[in-house]
C-alpha cells in the first residue's frame, strides 16, 4: 500500500526524478574521474575510464524510469489526450453525442431521484430496514378485493396479541392539525406514534428524551411532545425548550425532547413537526365516542402499523402469521357487531409489505404511473445509446483509412480497442456531467409542475442519484464504445489501405440500420404511450363529474379540537353561510357535511321490498343547505331541490342520484318513494327529486350512489365546510373570503380557503404526470431518432456520391435518385414502426389499468403515431436526398 503511494508520488514527479538521476550520475562520473586523475591518468583517459566504469547511462536512466512510470497509466492519459483532441476537432459530433447522452442520463437521474425518494430510499436512522414492514390488510368486499394500510387501533392490538413472528410493533399516523397558539399557530403535520416507534431507530434525541411506554397508554396517554429538529431550529431557534408547553390541536403538551437532525420518522413527504403519543392524540379526539372507544371498537380506521420481523422469520411466514391474526381479529369484530360479513366470505388476510406505501400493495395510480415513466426514461436512454453508437460507427467508418494506417504501423489491436473505449468513456463522462445538470434543472421543473408532494429533488448533492447517473454513464460508455471498437479492430487492412474514399463503409451499415430500426420501434412505443395518456387526461378533464367546481371555493372550518354541541355547530354553519353569501362576487353558497374526494358519510338505509340495501353497493349522503345544487352546479334531472321550508319539524325529504333511483326502484318512478335513513324505525324520507350522478371518491374504481338531505332535518351539526360559487375565477377572492369568514369563527378555531379545483387537480394528477412525461420523453425520443436517421442517410448518400453520379451520367432523373434515397429511409422507418406497434400492442395489457376510459389498443392513436413517425422519416431523408440529386456525373466519371 505504502509502496503504491510512493510510486504514485514518483509518477507525479517523474520529470524531476529523472533530472535528479542525471545529476546523481554526473556526480558519480566526476568522482570516478577525480579518482582516476588521482591515480595519475591524463584528463582524457580519466574521463574515458569514468564513462566506461559507469556504463550506459541511458540504460540506467531507462531502467530507473521504469520504476517510476506506470505504462498503462501513461497509455491511458495518452489515449485521453488523443480522444480530447479528436473531440475538439469535431465539435458538432461531440456536442451531439454529449447532449444526447446527457438527455438520456439526465432523464434517468431525475426519474430515479423521484421514485427512489418515493419508494426505495431507507429512512434515516432506521435499523435493519430490510426487516421492517408495514402491515397491509386485505379482504373481499362485495366481490371486490380490498387492500388497506389504515385500520383501527383495536385491530392493531389484536394483531399484536395474535402474532408471534415479530419483535417490534408500533402504530402510527400523521395528522395535519393546528400547532401553536394565537397568531403563531399553523396547520402542521404531527406524527402520532407509539412509544415503541423510537426503538426502531438507532439514534439519540438531540435534546431531552423520547416518550416511553408509560406515557403511551390507553385510554389516554400523557401530554408530552418531541419536536422535529428542523421545526425546533426554525420555530424555537434551537434554544433549550425542555419544559415549555406546545399546543397541539386541543392538547397542551409538555416538550420533553428534540429528535436528532435528519430524522423524519417514516414520513414520505414533509417531515412531521411534532411527535406525540398515539394514545394521547386518540384519547383527546374531539368526538367523545372516538376518544372513549378507539381501542375497543372497530369503526375508526385511521392508523397504520409498522413492525419488525424476528430473525429467521421469512416475509412469507410473517404474512401468514398476520393473516391468521387478521382472521381472529375479524371474528372478534363480529362478536361485537354481528351484522358484519362473515370471515368465510370476506376472507381477511394480511401482507407484511414495504414500509413506504407507494411501494406497497395499495400503491396509488400515481406511483404506478411514475414507475412506468421511469421505464420510459430507460427507453429514452437506450434510444440515446443507439443513436450515439450509430454516430460513433459512422466516425469509425470515416476513419477506416487512418485506423488501417495505424494498424499497419504496428499499433496493437488491443491498444486500438482501448483507444476507442477511452473515447466513448470520455464522451459518456461529459454526457454524465451534462446529464446531472439537466436532471438538476429538469427535476426542479418536474417538482414544480407535477410532484409538489415530493420534498426535494436535488441531484447534485444526492449521492444515490449521482451514483446512478455515473452507473448509467459507465454503461453508456461501454455500450456505445464496444461496437465501434470491435469494428475498428477487425476489418481488412490491405483493402482499406488501397481503397479510396468512395469504397468501403457503405456495405457495412447493416448494424447501423438495425440500430435505427430499434430506435424507431422504441420511439413508436413511447409515442403510443403518450397518445394514450393524453387521451386519458382529456377524458378525465371532459368527464361530467356531476358538478362543476371550477369557480368554487372550498372553506373548511377547523375547530382545533374545540368540542362544540350540535346546536353550536349548526349556528356556526348558519353564520358562515350568511356571511359567505354577503361577500361580493359570491353567487351562491352551501354548508356541507361532505365534499367530493375529501370526505363522505354513510349510514344504514332501509327501503321497503329490499332485503339489504348495503348489498347493492356503497350509499353515501350529503346533508346540506338548499343552495347546494346551484352552488356545485349539480343538475336536478326531475323533481325539485329542498328549500328553506324543509326544516326541522316538516316532513323529511331528500334527493337521490339517478343511478340510485334506478338501483332502488327499477322501473318505477323514484319520486314520492319512501326511504328510511339511519334506522328502520325512522319516519319516511320522501324522495322529491333526482339529481345527476356525481363522482364522489375517485375517478376510477367503483361507482357509488349518492343521496342528499336537508341539513336542517338530518344531523344539523355534521356540517364542516362552506362551498362558495364565485362569479368567474375564484382565486382572486380567496383571501377576502378567508378574512370575512375568519371573523365569524369562535375562539382559536380558524378557516382554510382553497379553490376546489386544486383538489380535483390532485385527483387527476396521475394522468397528468403520465401525459406530460410520456409526451416529453416521446418527443425527445422522436427527435433523437430523427437526427439518427438523418445522420445515417446523409452518411450513406455521401458514401454513394460516386455511384449516384454514375447513375445520373447514365440518365437517371432527379426523382429516381430521390426515390432511391428516401426509399431507404422510409423502408427502415416502416420496419421500425411495425416492430414498435407490435410491441406496444403486446405491452397494452399492462398499461391499461393506468388509463382512464381509454383502450390501450386504440387504433386511432396507433395510426397517428405510425403516420407521424413515417412523416418524420420522410423529412429526415428528404434533405440528404436533395443533396444526392446534385451528385456530379463529371467528377464521378473522371475519378475512374
Amino acid at each position: 500500500m505504502r509502496e503504491w503511494l510512493i510510486r504514485l508520488r514518483d509518477w507525479l514527479r517523474r520529470d524531476r526524478l529523472d533530472r535528479e538521476l542525471v545529476e546523481e550520475l554526473r556526480f558519480h562520473r566526476e568522482q570516478l574521474e577525480r579518482e582516476a586523475r588521482g591515480a595519475g591518468a591524463p584528463p582524457e583517459a580519466a574521463a574515458y575510464a569514468a564513462r566506461r566504469r559507469l556504463g550506459n547511462q541511458t540504460v540506467i536512466r531507462e531502467e530507473a524510469r521504469d520504476r517510476w512510470s506506470w505504462p498503462w497509466l501513461d497509455h491511458f492519459l495518452k489515449d485521453l489526450r488523443y480522444a480530447f483532441r479528436g473531440l475538439r476537432r469535431s465539435p458538432g459530433f461531440s456536442a451531439t453525442v454529449i447532449l444526447t447522452l446527457g438527455l438520456g442520463i439526465g432523464a434517468n437521474a431525475a426519474m430515479f431521484g423521484v421514485i427512489d425518494r418515493l419508494m426505495f430510499r431507507p429512512f434515516p436512522y432506521l435499523r435493519d430496514p430490510d426487516t421492517v414492514h408495514r402491515v397491509y390488510l386485505t379482504w373481499q368486499d362485495r366481490e371486490r378485493s380490498r387492500t388497506s394500510s389504515a385500520f383501527e387501533y383495536t385491530r392493531y392490538l389484536d394483531l399484536k396479541k395474535f402474532t408471534t413472528s415479530f419483535s417490534q410493533f408500533a402504530g402510527l399516523a400523521t395528522r395535519r392539525v393546528a400547532v401553536g397558539l394565537g397568531d403563531a399557530s399553523r396547520e402542521r403535520p404531527v406524527a402520532v406514534v407509539n412509544a415503541s416507534f423510537f426503538d426502531f431507530f438507532d439514534m439519540r434525541p438531540a435534546l431531552g428524551r423520547f416518550f416511553v411506554a408509560s406515557e403511551d397508554v390507553t385510554p389516554k396517554g400523557a401530554n408530552v411532545a418531541v419536536l422535529d429538529y428542523g421545526f425546533w431550529q426554525r420555530e424555537f431557534g434551537g434554544k433549550n425548550v425542555l419544559g415549555q408547553t406546545l399546543q397541539v390541536r386541543n392538547i397542551s403538551c409538555l416538550i420533553i425532547g428534540v429528535a436528532p437532525k435528519g430524522f423524519v420518522g417514516v414520513a414520505e413527504n414533509e417531515p412531521p413537526a411534532v411527535y406525540i403519543p398515539i394514545t394521547t392524540s386518540a384519547g383527546n379526539e374531539p368526538f367523545q365516542r372516538m376518544a372513549e372507544n378507539y381501542y375497543r371498537t372497530y369503526n375508526w380506521g385511521w392508523m397504520s402499523v409498522m413492525l419488525r420481523r424476528k430473525p429467521g422469520v421469512s416475509v412469507a411466514a410473517a404474512s401468514r402469521d398476520l393473516s391468521q391474526a387478521h382472521v381472529r381479529s375479524w371474528n372478534a369484530e363480529l362478536a361485537l357487531e354481528p351484522r358484519g360479513t362473515p370471515a368465510a366470505v370476506a376472507r381477511p388476510a394480511a401482507v407484511a409489505g414495504r414500509l413506504r406505501t407507494p411501494a406497497g400493495p395499495d400503491a396509488g395510480l400515481e406511483s404506478k404511473t411514475l414507475l412506468w415513466v421511469t421505464g420510459v426514461a430507460v427507453i429514452v436512454m437506450l434510444i440515446a445509446c443507439a443513436n450515439v453508437t450509430n454516430l460513433m460507427l459512422a466516425r469509425v467508418l470515416r476513419r477506416r483509412r487512418e485506423i488501417a494506417v495505424r494498424l499497419a504501423l504496428g499499433v496493437s489491436r488491443k491498444r486500438l480497442l482501448a483507444q476507442c473505449l477511452t473515447e466513448s468513456m470520455l464522451l459518456a463522462g461529459l454526457g454524465c456531467v451534462a446529464g446531472v445538470a439537466i436532471a438538476q434543472w429538469g427535476g426542479a421543473a418536474l417538482r414544480h409542475v407535477l410532484l409538489r408532494n415530493i420534498s426535494a429533488l436535488d441531484v447534485v448533492t444526492d449521492s444515490r442519484t449521482l451514483l446512478v447517473a455515473a452507473g448509467f454513464a459507465l454503461a453508456a460508455g461501454l455500450l456505445t464504445g464496444l461496437a465501434p471498437a470491435l469494428l475498428a479492430g477487425k476489418g481488412d487492412l490491405a483493402g482499406a489501405l488501397k481503397a479510396g474514399a468512395r469504397e468501403g463503409g457503405y456495405h457495412r451499415s447493416r448494424m447501423r440500420s438495425a440500430l435505427l430500426v430499434v430506435q424507431g420501434a422504441l420511439s413508436v412505443i413511447l409515442l403510443v404511450g403518450a397518445g394514450l395518456f393524453v387521451k386519458s387526461l382529456e377524458h378525465v378533464r371532459s368527464l361530467r363529474m356531476g358538478f362543476d367546481a371550477e369557480p368554487v371555493l372550498y372553506a373548511t372550518a377547523n375547530m382545533r379540537g374545540m368540542r362544540t354541541t350540535e346546536a353550536e355547530q349548526e349556528t356556526l354553519g348558519l353564520a358562515l353561510l350568511t356571511a359567505g353569501q354577503a361577500i361580493p362576487g359570491v353567487e351562491s353558497a352551501a354548508w356541507v357535511s361532505a365534499a367530493p374526494f375529501q370526505s363522505s358519510s354513510s349510514t344504514n338505509l332501509y327501503v321497503e321490498g329490499i332485503d339489504s340495501v348495503r348489498k347493492l353497493g356503497r350509499f353515501t349522503y350529503q346533508s346540506t343547505t338548499p343552495d347546494f345544487f346551484k352552488t356545485m352546479d349539480t343538475r336536478i334531472l326531475r323533481g325539485r331541490s329542498f328549500t328553506a321550508q324543509d326544516r326541522k319539524g316538516t316532513p323529511l325529504v331528500g334527493l337521490v342520484s339517478e343511478a340510485m333511483a334506478q338501483a332502488l326502484w327499477p322501473g318505477k318512478d323514484a319520486i314520492g318513494q319512501c326511504m328510511r335513513v339511519g334506522n328502520d324505525t325512522m319516519p319516511c324520507t320522501t324522495v322529491i327529486g333526482i339529481a345527476e350522478n356525481a363522482v364522489e371518491r375517485s375517478f376510477s374504481g367503483e361507482k357509488g350512489f349518492m343521496y342528499y338531505l336537508p341539513i336542517a332535518q338530518y344531523e344539523p351539526g355534521s356540517g364542516y365546510a362552506l362551498m362558495l360559487r364565485m362569479r368567474g375565477d375564484p382565486r382572486p377572492h380567496q383571501e377576502t373570503v378567508r378574512k370575512v369568514l375568519q371573523a365569524v369563527m369562535p375562539g382559536q378555531s380558524y378557516i382554510r380557503v382553497q379553490p376546489f379545483d386544486e383538489i380535483i387537480d390532485t385527483e387527476r394528477r396521475s394522468w397528468k404526470v403520465g401525459a406530460t412525461m410520456f409526451v416529453a420523453f416521446g418527443v425527445l425520443a422522436l427527435l433523437v431518432a430523427a437526427v439518427g436517421l438523418y445522420g445515417v442517410i446523409t452518411y450513406n448518400v455521401a458514401q454513394r456520391m460516386h455511384e449516384l453520379g454514375v447513375r445520373i451520367a447514365l440518365g437517371a432523373q432527379a426523382k429516381d435518385v430521390v426515390r432511391l434515397v428516401v426509399g431507404q429511409g422510409v423502408r427502415l422507418a416502416l420496419v421500425g414502426v411495425t416492430l414498435g406497434l407490435g410491441l406496444a400492442l403486446f405491452a397494452a395489457k399492462w398499461i391499461q389499468p393506468l388509463l382512464f376510459q381509454q383502450s390501450a389498443r386504440d387504433p386511432a392513436t396507433y395510426g397517428l403515431v405510425a403516420v407521424l413517425l413515417l412523416s418524420v422519416a420522410l423529412l429526415a431523408s428528404a434533405l440528404p436526398a436533395r443533396r444526392a440529386t446534385r451528385a456530379d456525373p463529371n467528377s464521378a466519371l473522371r475519378t475512374d
Binding site: 505504502r2 510510486r7 538521476l21 546523481e24 558519480h28 566504469r53 559507469l54 531502467e63 520504476r67
Partner: protein, 111 residues
C-alpha cells in the same frame, strides 16, 4: 601482483549490502560503491549500472530515503539514509543469509 579475481554478487544480496552500508552513515551512490569495493578487498565490484536502479527500487519500497546534501568537498550529492523499515528488512535478510551460508558451508566442508 596479480589482480584479485572479481566475483559476481549472489543474486539478491546487493540490497542487503547496500542497507548494511547505509547503517554506518548516510552515503551517496558513489560512496556506497567505494565502500563495498574497499571492504571486500576489491572482490566485490558493484556495477554502477545495477546500483542506481536498485537504489530507486529500495526507495520506493520505503527502505531508504534520498535527499540532497553538500559533500565535505562542498559538492551537491544525493545522500541515502536507511529507514526503520530498511533496518528491519536488513535484519531479516541478514539472518536468512547467514543461515544459508552456514548450511552451504556444512555441505561443502562436512566435519
Amino acid at each position: 601482483m596479480t589482480p584479485t579475481p572479481r566475483r559476481d554478487l549472489l543474486p539478491g544480496t546487493l540490497d542487503m549490502l547496500i542497507l548494511k552500508t547505509l547503517t554506518i552513515q548516510p552515503m551517496h551512490g558513489y560512496g556506497i560503491a567505494q565502500h563495498l569495493q574497499r571492504l571486500s578487498d576489491d572482490v566485490i565490484r558493484v556495477e554502477e549500472g545495477s546500483l542506481y536502479p536498485a537504489l530507486q527500487r529500495m526507495r520506493q519500497k520505503g527502505w531508504i530515503r534520498a535527499g540532497w546534501r553538500q559533500t565535505p568537498n562542498n559538492q551537491r550529492a544525493r545522500y541515502y539514509t536507511v529507514t526503520r523499515a530498511g533496518r528491519r528488512r536488513l535484519g531479516d535478510e541478514q539472518a536468512g543469509f547467514l543461515e544459508l551460508v552456514r548450511a552451504i558451508g556444512r555441505i561443502l566442508q562436512p566435519d
